[in-house]
């Protein structure tokens, strides 16, 4: 079958048009959508950042990490401690005063988020160097262990994280401009990375580590790079999430929390190894988890009031996870990506097919 390739010039035009349309749409959303709708859009962007970055680790490099939420926690806490005003900190930390230097500084949202990401990346590096010596499910368990340790420390070190009470009254900085810009940045960076030589080497490692090593690929270094990049963006997503919800506490970052499980469902649904798949998964799962809220609320059916059952959504998502794995392991995209070329080929295929089918009909 022929594959069609677009010219570079056409792609530039298409890209700029897409960005222009996206900006118009965002302006429209900002002005005329309800706050609930905006919140969902924000959540979609944040979840997509998480899914794309986890997909780099799990899907593209083949490191089965269960610790993503731990890095999100690190980013969320770091950024929140930096954006809270000094007065607010004194109010929040009434059990034990906050330690220096956090007790006397306040930064703007952008720097705080970037620093949050960097600290998460640093933790990622700390964890990656020892843990990536393991493989398969040992690695999964070790990363889960690390994220649990982070959470337990967040609960324990009261003078840094305010313990189980968490941080409250964070400034509500996250809006769709911030979240979608960061999503664009994340996607751009990770797509560039996966299409580079590094990315191809990462995929080689995933497919056959021993063969990759035999080809002279520095497996250890590349896996660490992928892990650290993934944790950086998880930290950024954590900061965005914290400033959207305006309150964080250690319980949010447990492995069994919907956030953690849903990210996994997103990348599995989208297709492990596909960045566009991760974004599609994030959109579907975020919508679904909002839409399914009606199950947990009260329902009135033919005059009967059925009381909502809390926990129903998690039940559906976990069942979805199992069903996907049994019947639909490839996910929506498999390992394919949606690119302009992909769309173009799709259109050409459709165009070519149509007359052929018509002919068959005539005969």
């Amino acid at each position: 079958m022929n594959t069609y390739k677009l010219e570079k010039k056409t792609k530039v035009i298409l890209n700029s048009t897409a960005i222009f349309i996206a900006i118009i749409l965002m302006m429209w959303a900002q002005n005329s959508m309800s706050s609930y709708g905006l919140r969902i859009l924000n959540l979609i962007a944040i979840n997509a950042i998480l899914a794309v970055s986890l997909n780099l680790i799990n899907g593209i490099t083949g490191i089965f990490s269960l610790g993503h939420i731990g890095f999100m926690a690190v980013g969320a806490y770091t950024a929140s401690l930096l954006t809270l005003s000094v007065q607010q900190k004194q109010q929040v930390f009434f059990l034990e005063p906050l330690i220096w230097p956090f007790n006397s500084i306040q930064l703007d949202f952008f720097s705080a988020t970037i620093i949050g990401g960097l600290v998460a990346a640093f933790f990622g590096l700390l964890i990656a160097v020892p843990a990536l010596r393991l493989r398969d499910d040992y690695l999964a368990i070790a990363t889960l262990g690390f994220s649990e340790i982070i959470r337990i420390f967040a609960n324990y070190s009261v003078s840094l994280t305010n313990g189980a009470l968490g941080l409250k009254g964070l400034p509500n900085y996250t809006n769709i401009w911030w979240s979608f810009s960061f999503l664009a940045l994340t996607t751009w960076f990770i797509v560039k990375l996966t299409n580079s030589t590094y990315g191809k080497q990462l995929k080689a490692i995933r497919d056959d580590e021993i063969a990759a090593r035999a080809m002279g690929i520095n497996v250890k270094k590349l896996r660490v790079i992928a892990f650290v990049v993934g944790s950086f963006f998880a930290g950024i997503a954590g900061s965005l999430m914290a400033h959207l919800l305006t309150t964080i506490d250690p319980k949010m970052f447990m492995f069994v929390q919907p956030t953690s499980v849903n990210i996994l469902v997103m990348i599995v649904l989208g297709g492990l190894g596909s960045t566009s798949g991760a974004i599609i998964g994030a959109i579907i799962i975020t919508f679904l988890s909002e839409w399914l809220r009606f199950i947990e609320g009260d329902m009135n059916i033919f005059g009967h009031v059925f009381h909502g059952i809390p926990g129903m959504r998690m039940l559906i998502f976990s069942a979805l996870m199992v069903i996907l794995m049994i019947f639909y392991r490839k996910g929506i995209m498999g390992e394919k990506e949606i690119t302009w070329d992909y769309l173009y080929n799709l259109i050409m295929k459709f165009k070519k097919k149509a007359p052929v089918e018509a002919k068959v009909g005539e005969e």
């Binding site: 398969d136 337990i152 976990s318 996870m321």
Partner: protein, 302 residues
Amino acid sequence: MSIQNFLQYLMNGVSLGSLYALIAIGYTLVYGILRLINFAHGDIFMLGTYTAFYMITLLSIPWWISFPLAIIVTALIGFSVDKIAYKPLRNAPRVSALITAIGVSIFLESLGVVVFGGRPKAFSFRALHYPKELYKMVVIGGIRIQMLTFVIIIVTALLLLFLVWLIYRTKVGMAMRALSKDIPTTKLMGINADKIIGLTFALGSALAAAAGIMWAMKYPQIFPYMGIIPGLKAFIAAVFGGIGNVKGAMIGGFLLGMMEILIVGFFPQLAGLRDAFAFILLIVVLLVKPTGIMGEKIQVKV
């Protein structure tokens, strides 16, 4: 710390450790054969205690029938979990099986929340009419020990003896050991692998249910997420002992329980980090000796 205190802690450690050992064996049996971490094991532990609880409160079956009956029912649950969720994935990549196991785990937890309600329930002798004599204190040489501690240790010992007999002295056990070495060849020898694997799941679940009931008597509160922490810790115990190795799981369970209690005993100010110890231990073990203290060396195939 006096020697008395130390012995006191040691005794508590042994009773906690024996519960870990019982759960850890479930992980090890399944991992030994399928190379699958059955994440849902902790939740089967939870289902076991809830089954016992509802048999007594709803069906008013006396405790001495419901406890064994709950263990049998849980064994059936474990068997069906394997049939429904894991069996279709026998030839799938390991990551798919692992994701499924996580899915099943969260499914059972949420099912627990939906069906049983999220609020903790009291698993006390008053509510369930099991003998309150279990909570009596016995003083031996200045150490105060609950009767329950002895019961836990004795029941665990009996179950473990039974298990060792089953694995090393019966045909079923021989089939299990053969499967853990090489599934295709074992099938060629005319062994129904699916049946044995199902049986393994049932056996592991039964042990988890026994541990769950005793756990709930020790800490008399049950809730749908109760299986997570004991499950993870028992898994760590299994890795510690060398996952896939039954004796290793027993040793790992006892050691982990004793270490946990002793560390908290010696450094009470670190009690808040209690759950972190197990994870730190896990990571240290994985890094120093990934196959655990009793484990065999894994060969990477080229």
